[in-house]
């Protein structure tokens, strides 16, 4: 009773909150109780279908409009003599690794044309690999000591390695140059990494140190003169991929390529994917609002949309046949 009186007092003070709280305590807040009526459900499925199908088609069209050239070069770039033992070929520094390819442009490609290298069956997401880096060291350099996460590539000759860790150590080091009609195509290799990485993740005063100096040499080397914040290849590489098959940006061609143009690619086939059966591909691709060429989204949208339509029709028929 006293409670009630007190409540009534507060009622005058703050009627709104009191009423709301009262309704809450009595579990009587106004509620809407949706019912899964046939009309509602059929409408929902119909709408889903009607939205997703056109949307999927638009997406599919965007994906299809992208011109993409994919060349697998890892096998082709090995001379006949070494076809049997590819690993010894790639590990032998004395053999020149240069190699050339002719690419035929199937369709007009509008600049910028993105150059990617694609690695298949390469587990950048392996736990040992993913963890083996140190963001603090990348930003602060040798001043930072807590680099135990970088094992087993942490120290060499009792000197810290900058950048440490397996990821940096296994840096991809194939290079590509493109020639069209005897003139070298200009490849812009700036701004291929994320701006946030350049500005905030990799130190401006951090220079590679003691890198790839040990007995086991992994991938590419870094120029010790250039600070990490300008080593964009490293940044791109260190954005590890979640999938065992991935593409990484190499650069951009800032000229349009016409249909039937022939582009010669001179590449240095340095990187070892032979020991574990990985594939290396070179990808030239234009882009759209969707990004790169990927039919999945469009197809999936069309599939979901048409399934919804079918469900809507099935439910409609069911409803007509045995109305409830």
């Amino acid at each position: 009773m006293t409670d009630r009186n007190r409540d009534r007092d507060s009622e005058t003070v703050c009627y709104g909150c009191f009423a709301a709280f009262y309704l809450f305590t009595q579990q009587r807040l106004p509620a809407c109780n949706p019912v899964l009526t046939p009309a509602w459900v059929i409408t929902i499925f119909l709408f889903t279908g009607l939205i997703f199908i056109p949307f999927g088609l638009v997406t599919l069209r965007a994906s299809r409009s992208i011109v993409e050239i994919v060349v697998r070069y890892d096998t082709k770039c090995i001379p006949e003599a070494f076809r049997i033992d590819k690993v010894s070929y790639i590990q032998d520094d004395s053999i020149p690794k240069n190699c050339s390819h002719f690419l035929k442009v199937p369709k007009y490609m509008k600049a910028p044309i993105y150059i990617y290298y694609q690695l298949d069956n390469y587990y950048q997401n392996h736990r040992r690999y993913v963890k083996s880096r140190n963001d603090q060291q990348l930003l602060h350099g040798r001043k930072y000591h807590g680099t135990s996460s970088c094992q087993p590539v942490e120290f060499n000759n009792n000197q810290p390695i900058v950048p440490c860790g397996l990821i940096a150590w296994s840096l991809f080091n194939d290079t590509f140059t493109f020639i069209r009609k005897r003139a070298e195509l200009k490849v812009n290799r700036k701004n291929i990494a994320w701006k946030s990485d350049r500005d905030h993740k990799f130190g401006k005063n951090v220079h590679p140190f003691n890198f790839q100096n040990g007995t086991s040499i992994g991938g590419g080397k870094l120029n010790p003169k250039i600070p990490l914040s300008d080593q964009e290849d490293l940044m791109v590489w260190m954005r590890t991929s979640a999938l065992p098959s991935f593409r990484k940006l190499y650069g951009r061609i800032e000229e349009d390529l016409d249909a039937d143009d022939v582009v010669v690619v001179h590449l240095m086939n340095n990187y070892n994917t032979y020991s574990f059966g990985g594939k290396k591909k070179l990808v030239l691709s234009t882009s759209s609002w969707l990004g790169g060429k990927n039919d999945f989204l469009g197809l999936a949208c069309v599939f979901v949309g048409s399934s919804s339509l079918i469900l809507a029709i099935v439910f409609m028929l069911l409803h007509l046949k045995c109305p409830r």
Partner: protein, 897 residues
């Protein structure tokens, strides 16, 4: 019941010894709900109660744990195999050629860490939170405030609200629980003369008033016993009126009645009592008080008449505790007839007796009594024995009859709860006839021909056995018929049945929907609860007095009525309510909602953890089975703590059906009783859903974010947001009623997810730096989200709709009816109940009974309530009621069998 109250008083005395005080402090300190004032009652600290749901959740947790171990082992082995076959070739991983032996354990342990989120720790926290809110809802409920006293209902035990929705047996006390426990002296029989039979009120009986005025010695002695054979203390108020402080309602009624019959108990000064009778003052000195115990079933006082120095023993008690001890030669037949007759009217009877003592005999006895009182071992028993030596050769003076009215709404409450499939047992210390009469008047049992009452009696084991067998046989035959069969058993037969024929009695207990146990002691009440619990039934015990405390503590749910017998039961109970009729709301509204909500919440908690865990497992297949976590630790932590816990917490406001509908169709409580919303098969559904959603999220994510977009942080954030979106829609789909809070929680949570991640994305040192901004700027991100939602929810919605429309449960049907005003609500509206007739009938009818034959058969047929319809007839749920009841009772395996 009188002895209840006396035992309470008895308890106060016991309190004075330190042990109990210590235990009281102990209880207070550890916040045990029990408040036992009587030493004999505190046999054990009540065990913490575990709800059936908690037990089920524990089981499911165990199952998930086993699943987790299996997953870890399989993936661990696969990981090691992969490591040895593939990873060694991958130079960039730089596996050492030869590792120590424990290297083999590393990968399984990593998977154990990854899968540890499979069992959501947050479920305990969420459950505790919502459980305390359920309890608060009970405390807050205005409809469960006792308007007379202003006492709100209270949930002492905040952890067992779900059990309320799963109650199958209610064991109820009678006095104070079903009745008001407001005693009114109605009739009496003094030395063979019946008073009050014509008018229904002895206080207005002219013959009695004349006898009082004429100071008839029989009547005077009778009134003296009424006035002073008690532990009442008179208090003079300022106005001169005398107020009585009585521990027991019966004593209060008797003293007040005596006062109205001019035998006024004026004053108590030390041991000197002062009575005023027709103007003359009589003084007595109290020499000894032989307290009431439930075993002796009587109390006595030894007083010395200050006028003539005579020492007198005054006794009052139950008929079987007084009449057999009448002096040889006294005809007690009239008295037993009176008792019988009063009991048939549902009145509570007490026999009053008196005996003059020889002074030396008294002194001799007094020494023995003092000795017995000071013994340390078996004191209670010793005292009883000594008392026995004095309480014989009594001169029976008469019989009093006290009326105890039924509480408001008791018949309706019992009927509704019956329809909900709950079985009722009445356990009372009262006489059989009184109990049956009350049972009839409150819908407890149906009168003939609808109902049938079977009696188990007998004084010897053989008799009880035969009677039990007979009843059991009848039960088996009639169990298929829509008949209300109930059995009646008294304390003595019950004792034998429980001891010797437990198996048969258990079977009987399972078969019978109704039982009346009379003359039972507190410990027998607890034994009966134990018996039902051992058959795996959910029991609720409701009572109001100290003698119910053990039963209340023993039962799965104890409900105490904070009534006139003090707060003892209410304190010991898990729930205290002001009136019996609130039980309906407590079970049907609070219990049912709590059950439904917890069922959703617990399974959802597993679901959300499983989704994220399955994604991790799938990811391990594309990350070289190395145990890489797709999600970073911050996301994982926040996923359980923020993103998925808030929307589900507001499911405490979810109502599948409105309160009114539930009250109208109590049958749907069956879904809760049978545990239809939380059992291995519903859980399997949620498990399958989590697997499906994990596949949807994973497949769409890795394909939409393939190749150049496959950056780890981005991809993990896409998968995480996919999960969050799905969560929101799953909760939305499973919510039956949306209040503003639910909308806020579900959609606000989605917004908060983005807000939190935007904030995290502004911190340069975090791994997620700029990720969320990048993603939100990509059209493909949003397409992916919509795709995940559509692909994940479409089948779920379709399935739910199909079942809802074409395979509806009764709840679905009612939902449709309630929300769209469909036909079921109007046609299925349980027939309007002719309550007006019953309202007249339910208070005890004050008519002369027509015969005095053995109670159970004729009484049933000429009961004033014979027009009452029985439960369940004509409702659309009849089929389902009988079906369910039978199947559930037969499918139960009794542990005794």
């Amino acid at each position: 019941m009188i002895f209840v109250i006396l035992s309470l008083f008895d308890g106060f005395i016991c309190h004075s010894n330190g042990v109990d005080i210590c235990s009281a402090i102990f209880e207070l300190f550890f916040n045990f709900s029990g408040n036992e004032s009587k030493l004999g009652m505190s046999r054990g600290i009540p065990e913490p109660k575990l709800t059936a749901m908690d037990a089920m959740i524990d089981k499911l947790t165990g199952a998930i744990f086993i699943f987790q171990i299996v997953v870890v082992m399989v993936l661990g082995i696969a990981g090691n195999v992969w490591k040895d076959t593939e990873a060694r070739k991958q130079w960039y991983v730089l596996y050492p050629v030869e590792g120590p032996w424990y290297e083999l354990l590393v990968i399984p342990l990593r998977f154990e860490l990854l899968c540890s989120i499979m069992i959501p720790i947050s479920i305990k926290v969420s459950l505790d939170l919502v459980k305390s809110l359920y309890a608060k809802f009970i405390d807050w409920d205005y409809e469960m405030i006792d308007q007379e006293t202003g006492i709100p209902s209270h949930a002492t035990n905040t952890a067992i609200s779900e059990d309320l929705g799963q109650v199958e047996y209610i064991l109820t006390d009678k006095t104070g629980t079903l009745t008001e426990n407001r005693m009114i002296f109605r009739r009496c029989c003094i030395s063979g003369i019946f008073y009050g039979n014509e008018s229904g009120d002895a206080l207005k009986d002219v013959v009695l008033l004349n006898a009082v005025a004429g100071s008839s010695p029989d009547v005077a002695r009778f009134l003296t016993v009424m006035a002073i054979c008690n532990t009442v203390i008179p208090i003079k108020s300022k106005t001169g009126a005398i107020l009585y402080k009585a521990q027991s309602q019966d004593e209060d009624a008797l003293v007040n009645a005596a006062a109205q019959l001019h035998m006024v108990y004026v004053n108590k000064n030390g041991n000197i009592l002062e009575l005023r009778f027709n103007g003359s003052v009589i003084q007595y000195e109290v020499l000894e008080t032989l307290e009431f115990t439930s075993d002796r079933k009587r109390m006595s006082v030894v007083v010395k008449d200050c006028q003539n120095g005579k020492i007198i023993l005054l006794s009052k008690g139950a008929d079987e505790a007084i009449l057999p001890y009448a002096y040889a030669g006294q005809q007690t037949r009239t008295f037993s007839e009176a008792v019988e007759q009063y009991a048939q009217l549902g009145l509570r009877t007490l026999c009053l007796a008196w005996r003059e003592l020889k002074e030396d005999a008294y002194h001799e006895w007094s020494l023995m009594f003092k000795e017995a009182s000071s013994t340390l071992v078996d004191r209670e028993w010793r005292i009883a024995e000594v008392c026995q030596r004095l309480e014989h050769d009594l001169e029976v003076l008469g019989v009093t009859a006290i009326e105890d009215r039924l509480q408001d709404g008791v018949p309706e409450t019992i009927e509704t709860l019956r329809k909900a499939g709950i079985n009722f047992w009445m356990l009372t210390g009262d006489k059989q006839n009184t109990a049956i009469q009350i049972a009839l008047s409150c819908n407890f049992i149906s009168p003939e021909p609808k109902g049938q009452l079977l009696l188990i009696d007998g004084k010897t084991e053989d008799e009880v056995c035969i009677s039990l067998e007979r009843v059991l046989l009848t039960m088996r035959i009639t169990s298929s018929e829509p008949k209300d069969v109930a059995f009646v058993v008294d304390g003595w037969a019950l004792e034998i049945a429980l001891k010797r024929y437990r198996k048969a009695f258990t079977e009987l207990a399972i078969l019978s929907r109704t039982a009346i146990c009379c003359r039972v002691t507190p410990s027998q009440k607890a034994q009966l609860v134990e018996l039902l619990k051992s058959c795996d039934y959910r029991t609720l015990a409701i009572g109001d007095g100290g003698n119910d405390v053990r039963m209340i503590q023993q039962a799965d749910i104890g409900v105490g009525i904070s009534g006139r017998e003090g707060l003892q039961a209410a304190r010991a109970a898990d729930y205290s309510i002001g009136k019996f009729r609130f039980l309906k709301r407590l079970i049907l509204v609070h219990g049912r909602y709590s059950y439904n909500r917890t069922a959703f919440l617990s399974q959802y908690s597993f679901y959300k953890s499983l989704v994220i865990c399955f994604i991790q497992i799938f990811f391990s297949f594309i990350s070289g089975v190395s145990g890489t976590s797709l999600f970073n630790s911050v996301s994982l932590m926040a996923y359980n703590v923020f993103y998925t816990s808030v929307p589900v917490l507001v499911s405490v406001l979810d109502k599948d059906l409105s309160e009114g509908t539930v009250m109208q169709h109590p049958q749907i409580l069956f879904y809760c009783q049978a545990g239809r919303f939380l059992n291995p098969s519903t859980f399997a559904g949620w498990f399958g859903r989590s697997l499906f959603h994990a596949i949807v999220v994973f497949v769409i994510t890795i394909h939409a974010y393939a190749y150049e977009k496959s950056e780890m942080e981005e991809l993990s954030m896409v998968a995480l947001s996919g999960c969050i979106w799905l969560q929101a829609f799953v909760v939305a789909l499973e919510t039956n009623s949306f209040t503003i809070l639910q909308h806020l929680a579900i959609w606000g949570n989605l917004v908060a997810f983005y807000a939190i991640n935007w904030i995290l994305s502004t911190v340069p040192s975090s791994g997620m730096y700029t990720i969320m901004f990048r993603l939100c700027g990509q059209p493909s991100y949003w397409i992916t989200m919509f795709l995940i939602v559509a692909a994940g929810m479409g089948p779920v919605l379709a399935l739910k709709y199909f079942r809802y429309t074409y395979r509806p449960s009764k709840i679905n049907t009612l939902q449709q009816a309630e929300r769209m005003g469909g036909p079921i609500l109007t046609s299925g509206n349980i027939e309007p109940q002719p309550r007006s007739i019953e309202k007249e009938a339910s208070p005890l009818s004050i008519t002369q009974p027509k015969n005095r034959d053995p109670v159970y058969e004729p009484l049933l047929s000429d009961s004033p309530n014979s027009t009452r319809r029985s439960f369940g007839s004509g409702t659309p749920f009849d089929f389902f009621q009988s079906q369910s009841r039978l199947s559930s009772s037969y499918s139960r395996n009794c542990k005794d069998n």
